[in-house]
Symmetry: C2
Subunit: 361 residues, 2 copies
């Protein structure tokens, strides 16, 4: 069977081996005569799947014991609402680093909940094509929120900033588990799994155990992080199938050499495409500043917008879907998350070269 190279921004490519395991076990999970997705979340079999996913994640991502690992639903957009509700209960003062669309949505949701938002850094002055390298120091913040990778603009923090006296709350949705994580300054990190770690429908939250006493009294039970922590993420029925697939992705990550291995893999993949861009900077107009480039989402425009549909049509014919850029930047975007094979990036780089040969003036 011939698999496409799918460059969509998410949901995105999964490791072929993971999909093969899911397929094999679909009607009969390990000889039980039942699909994993038909099983009670309170039963021993699913519990083993859950426990292994949690402990594998802790080991692979090097998550210190001061953090709980929660499995939730609703994506980053739900976290944008839950973070002010849970972490800014009484003080109501928080910092936000604005690196574009997703950061802005997070800021809006904090403001709706009457949090006093300090935009401590922003790259709005240049259509978010870079990551700010410093930020305002403000006293008494509950947290500083940031987006580690911006899918739309193709920018990524190369290293985490030092937030001074407070802690970082990080939306890692689009570069979760793509490289080692330094937990020193992190208070909470979260990610929808649908880009680097599984299908859509699961949100992984890594949260400092000290954060639960900030919850507001009138917060509904299901909106409290402590509810998930106290109940092993099973206060109600979790998305069992997603947790299962996430667990398989973690096993695949082990086979790739963990986060250090996958980082090397991702660097070498992205280099194939950035090298083409850099070899013809007047034809491939990279959006992100070089020092802020994402290893996950590579964005560029052609000098002539009319080339966009021509490029996309050719890509579709070569079974490389998903390359259309977001409307905020236009042009093209190649999303090359963990599970995109190097062959896929090579195929795209080759196509870009050939396309330039044909259309460059």
């Amino acid at each position: 069977m011939s698999r496409s190279y799918n460059f969509a921004a998410g949901p995105a490519t999964l490791p072929t081996g993971v999909l093969e395991t899911v397929q094999k076990e679909l009607l009969d999970y390990q000889g039980t005569g039942t699909s994993l997705m038909e099983m009670s979340h309170r039963g021993k079999i699913f519990d083993a799947v859950y426990q292994k996913a949690v402990s594998d994640l802790r080991r692979i991502a090097g998550i210190p014991e001061r953090f709980d690992i929660l499995f939730m639903t609703g994506g980053a957009s739900t976290q944008f609402a839950l973070i002010p509700l849970n972490l800014s209960g009484s003080n109501r003062k928080a910092g936000y680093i604005n690196t574009g669309a997703w950061s802005k949505k997070a800021i809006e949701q904090a403001k709706i909940q009457k949090v006093n938002v300090h935009e401590v850094a922003s790259s709005a002055d240049s259509n978010f094509n870079y990551i700010p390298d410093s930020f305002d120091i403000v006293d008494g913040l509950d947290y500083i929120h940031m987006t580690s990778n911006n899918t739309i603009f193709g920018t990524q923090f190369q290293k985490l900033p030092d937030p001074g006296g407070t802690k970082l709350v990080i939306d890692m949705s689009s570069d979760f588990l793509s490289k080692p994580i330094d937990w020193t300054h992190i208070g909470m990190a979260y990610a929808g799994t649908q880009k680097n770690a599984g299908p859509s429908g699961l949100t992984v939250v890594v949260i400092d155990k000290d954060y639960y006493d900030r919850e507001r009294e009138d917060t509904p039970t299901i909106f409290r992080y402590s509810t998930f922590a106290k109940n092993d993420s099973m206060y109600n029925t979790p998305p069992t199938f997603q947790i299962y697939v996430f667990g398989l992705v973690l096993e695949w990550l082990d086979s790739m050499g963990g986060l250090k291995g996958i980082q090397q893999h991702n660097e070498s993949k992205a280099a194939l495409i950035y090298d083409v861009i850099d070899s013809m900077p007047e034809f491939f107009l990279g959006h992100a500043r070089k020092d802020s480039r994402s290893l996950m989402n590579i964005t560029w425009n052609f000098p002539d917008k009319e080339l966009d549909p021509v490029f996309l049509k050719g890509a579709d014919e070569k079974r490389m879907p998903g390359l259309k850029g977001h409307r905020s930047v236009g042009g093209l975007r190649a999303s090359v998350y963990n599970a995109m094979p190097k062959e896929g990036c090579q195929a795209l780089a080759d196509y870009m070269q050939a396309f330039a040969g044909e259309h460059k003036k």
Copy 2:
């Protein structure tokens, strides 16, 4: 391959044909070279899956045009929190029918949000073994909430009550799409899909379009029903795989003769087990009153609790897992949702007969 007969209360059995289709298409959805779960939710292929699921549901369940159909996540527990937030914004006065555990949780969440809760009917006086047949009339309620089927106690509304001047908001999680629905008095109905309609991780909400103007101003965007309505449930990434499987379950429902067909199927299935209970009422102590019996969850105790593990062990050996009763009732519970085949109910009925022959004094 030998499939188990899985009597778990949810997540629960799915139609074998649905699982076979998922398995077949897992790595290559309809010749695209991509798994459905790897595809962008903004693309044409997933959009067709989404549109068909919505229109099939509307047709099969006879949902009038005054309702929107929303795909959400977070299960009934999230709805318990969202309903007061969205439907009781200013008036803050609502009725709740209390038929046990799930109703009680819904009531608690309304109270946390300072809604003036009127418990208009309750069967708490008799460990929730019946469905109340009338309720207090209270003026000025925003809605009356009820649970159409109680998984724990094995009770089910045989027909929907007439709520007088207000409308019903119904948690249908455990009998959704198991029989025709009379929408006359319904303002909103919702269900997690993991019992009758798919894997866990998707919540279907059917809501009257007139309800959106009750939302409170400080409600985060992702917690508003109107956000899902305005964005075809794609304000953010939906659980695409679950929507796909839900769509396949709807096609299977068509093949079963729609909701009338499945109702007959469910009645004949449940009768096999209730007939055994009624033939030996001193050995199989049915929990639910006969006029309130659920077609979905059949609950009973043995005269001697020590028989419970003996029965369960024998059932496991016959590959009939999931029969342990909930701790609130004890004893046994057979969950026989839509996708449980008649052969499964027959196998259980046969086993109950044989077990009685061996253990009845």
